[in-house]
């Protein structure tokens, strides 16, 4: 059996009556960026704290490169964590914050200084060495927190909501920097986040968590295109979910009274997902014989695309249209009649 880099086996954790983690199993490979995504209280932070060693699981094991680290205290584990609030030491300056972890190991002064200089250069912190950590900006604090971990050359870096404290502009820039840094260093990253866009753009693979359980593991494309259930579909992006009727070898989307062809439903899936950007709409002037007709109930222009809320037979769904066809799109107004169209291959069937 080939071992994964980090294996989480049957980890269960209770806090009083609350089941924070319920038999969680997860394999994380070397040098990947793995995200744990879920709304607050789903257990993702608890899992991160268990990996870091701050909490002991009630049951289960954590294997790092095949070695059981479940009972190792945090100060022995060859991994580091970057905290959401950074947890920089307020009584130390930037350099001493970065040196803190190195001083706990038996390095020579020379070695410590070399490593610190190296990391200061890598994270562009030169010139801030003597500054107190509360005198520098949020973005700089984030880089000091990162430097403090990376200078220890950990095998695994855990990041708890690494971008949550930054403003939006900086967040996007830092996202790219994090990915570049990870590619350069090859350290395995595990990122905890509640921000689905962040998870999609950062991760190689991700796990969706809810109520202490892992619902689905996969790369961002799999999870976006082929979610396992309605919760995941709604959690990642916007989802139009319809019911499926199977009768007389016909597969019908119940709400739209639309028959799906060229698709095999021998598993009797009962639901389907059509992402809004895969539904095109076109304004129609007169009553047409086409049955795929709805009424626009809401229009939201968002620059690069426009969101339309369409109502058909009393149910509503979204259509997102790129504004490259601006002249056509802008003519669609509230209460207009539109014809909607989607490709059968863009329908994803699932059971829930």
């Amino acid at each position: 059996m080939s071992n994964s880099f980090l294996e989480i086996i049957d980890v269960t954790k209770r806090f009083g009556d609350i089941l924070a983690l319920d038999r969680v199993n997860l394999k994380i490979e070397k040098s990947e960026i793995f995200s744990l995504l879920g709304s607050s209280g789903c257990g993702k932070s608890t899992l991160l704290r268990i990996i870091a060693g701050f909490e002991k699981p009630d049951q289960g094991k954590i294997l790092l490169e095949g070695n059981d680290i479940t009972n190792l205290p945090p100060y022995i584990r060859p991994l580091n964590i970057m905290f959401q609030n950074y947890a920089l030491f307020p009584h130390l300056n930037v350099t001493n914050n970065i040196k803190f972890g190195l001083k706990e190991e038996s390095f020579s002064k020379q070695e410590i200084n070399n490593r610190v200089n190296e990391i200061l250069n890598l994270l562009e912190l030169n010139g801030l060495e003597e500054r107190k950590v509360n005198e520098i900006s949020g973005g700089q604090q984030q880089r000091v927190a990162l430097a403090r971990c990376l200078v220890k050359k950990p095998k695994l870096l855990l990041l708890d909501e690494p971008l949550a404290a930054l403003d939006k502009q900086l967040r996007i820039q830092t996202q790219f920097e994090l990915v570049n840094l990870q590619n350069k260093l090859g350290i395995t990253f595990i990122i905890v986040t509640h921000d689905q866009e962040e998870a999609i753009s950062l991760s190689d693979r991700m796990a969706i968590m809810q109520n202490g359980e892992i619902l689905q593991v996969g790369n961002p494309v799999e999870i976006y295109e082929k979610p396992k259930n309605t919760y995941i579909a709604n959690f990642i992006g916007t989802a139009n979910i319809f019911h499926i009727l199977n009768k007389d070898n016909q597969i019908i989307i119940e709400e739209l009274n639309y028959e799906i062809k060229n698709i095999n439903n021998n598993k009797n899936f009962n639901k389907c997902l059509i992402r809004p950007e895969k539904i095109n709409i076109k304004k129609i002037e007169n009553q047409s014989d086409n049955s795929n007709v709805g009424i626009v109930k809401e229009v939201a222009y968002l620059g690069s695309y426009t969101k339309y809320l369409i109502e058909v037979n009393g149910i509503q769904f979204y259509s997102f249209m790129q504004n490259s066809l601006v002249s056509d799109n802008l003519q669609i107004k509230w209460d207009d009649k539109v014809e909607f169209k989607f490709n059968d291959s863009s329908i994803f069937l699932f059971n829930d």
């Binding site: 060693g53 945090p74 100060y75 803190f100 972890g101 190991e105 220890k152």
Partner: protein, 313 residues
């Protein structure tokens, strides 16, 4: 730049003062200072005056410092009181006893109080309220009564001796009262909340993530305490130590009630000089010397500490 800044600050301060005065908020701003002058500096000046007066029988038991008679204006002052107390090792020894009592009990309060303060600060908010109330409840009873209670507990027929005899650890009651250990016990018991509360004030603001962060970076629990928790609670330690050390130097009730003749303490000596010997000038000279010897190191320390803090802000 800094010069400019400080000038600007002074300017702003004056503008603020003038605004206050214009708004007739004068009393609002200066009441604390009047209070300080009225109830601290004036009594202190009176004590100083008595300390340089000449002792005599009568009421009050010292000669007037200034007298206006037919022979003219006369100042009748002397430094002999000071010379007297510094020439007699009895007073110096009692002062050293008080310093050593203050030092020992401050250390003990710190050692006992720190874990309590940490535990209270880090307990759940609901429990924290109860614990804080428990810390403050003893203040609702008179301090004299509480020290007297110790006297009852420690005496030969007291509850501690009874229990020890009952359990068979001892056959004869041991004498626990009227020695300097009983004094230390009483002082530590009385002053512990003054150590715990300022420590609590700093520790409650302490971010527990910092402990996790230090652990994660490889610091063992001892190093985490020494390198992170201790430096960050230093202001609380200093505040608490001051609140214990300074009053204990002048403490006279606890040595009077629990102490014996093995060690004499400064506060008790002043009391005796005032009320037993009725030598007010010597008692005042003792009080003044005590203040001066204690005040200078503390002021220097405070200034240095303020500078250190300013640098670290």
């Amino acid at each position: 730049m800094i010069k400019l800044n400080s000038n600007l600050m002074i300017h702003q301060y004056f503008c603020l003062m003038i605004r206050y005065l214009k708004k007739q908020n004068f009393w609002f701003v200066f009441t604390p200072y009047f209070w300080l002058v009225l109830f601290f500096f004036i009594p202190l000046a009176l004590i100083f005056k008595i300390s340089i007066s000449v002792s005599e029988w009568g009421m009050p038991p010292y000669r007037d410092l200034f007298s206006l008679s037919e022979e003219g204006f006369k100042i009748d002052s002397t430094l002999s009181n000071y010379l007297f107390i510094f020439s007699d090792p009895f007073y110096i020894r009692s002062y050293l006893n008080s310093l050593s009592l203050a030092f020992t009990s401050t250390i003990l309060c710190l050692v006992i109080g720190y874990p309590i303060a940490f535990y209270v600060a880090k307990s759940h908010a609901n429990i924290r309220i109860i614990l804080l109330v428990l810390l403050i409840i003893p203040f609702w009873t008179s301090f004299l009564l509480r020290v007297y209670a110790w006297k009852v507990l420690l005496q030969g027929s007291g509850i501690i001796n009874s229990i020890l005899i009952h359990l068979g650890f001892i056959t004869e009651p041991i004498s626990m009262l009227h020695n300097h250990y009983a004094v230390i016990l009483g002082v530590v018991y009385t002053y512990l909340p003054f150590m715990i509360l300022p420590l609590y004030g700093y520790l409650v603001k302490f971010d527990l993530n910092l402990i996790d962060a230090a652990n994660d970076l490889g610091a063992k629990p001892v190093n985490t305490f020494l390198k992170v928790i201790l430096p960050l609670s230093l202001p609380g330690i200093i505040a608490g130590s001051m609140l214990v050390f300074i009053p204990v130097v002048g403490e006279f009730v606890i040595p009077e009630m629990l102490g014996g003749s093995d060690k004499l303490y400064f506060g008790k000596i002043i009391w005796d000089e005032f009320f037993v010997n009725r030598d007010w000038p010597v008692a005042s000279a003792l009080a003044m010397s005590g203040i001066v010897i204690l005040v200078f190191p503390i002021v220097i320390f405070q200034l240095m500490y303020a500078k250190y803090n300013f640098k670290n802000e």
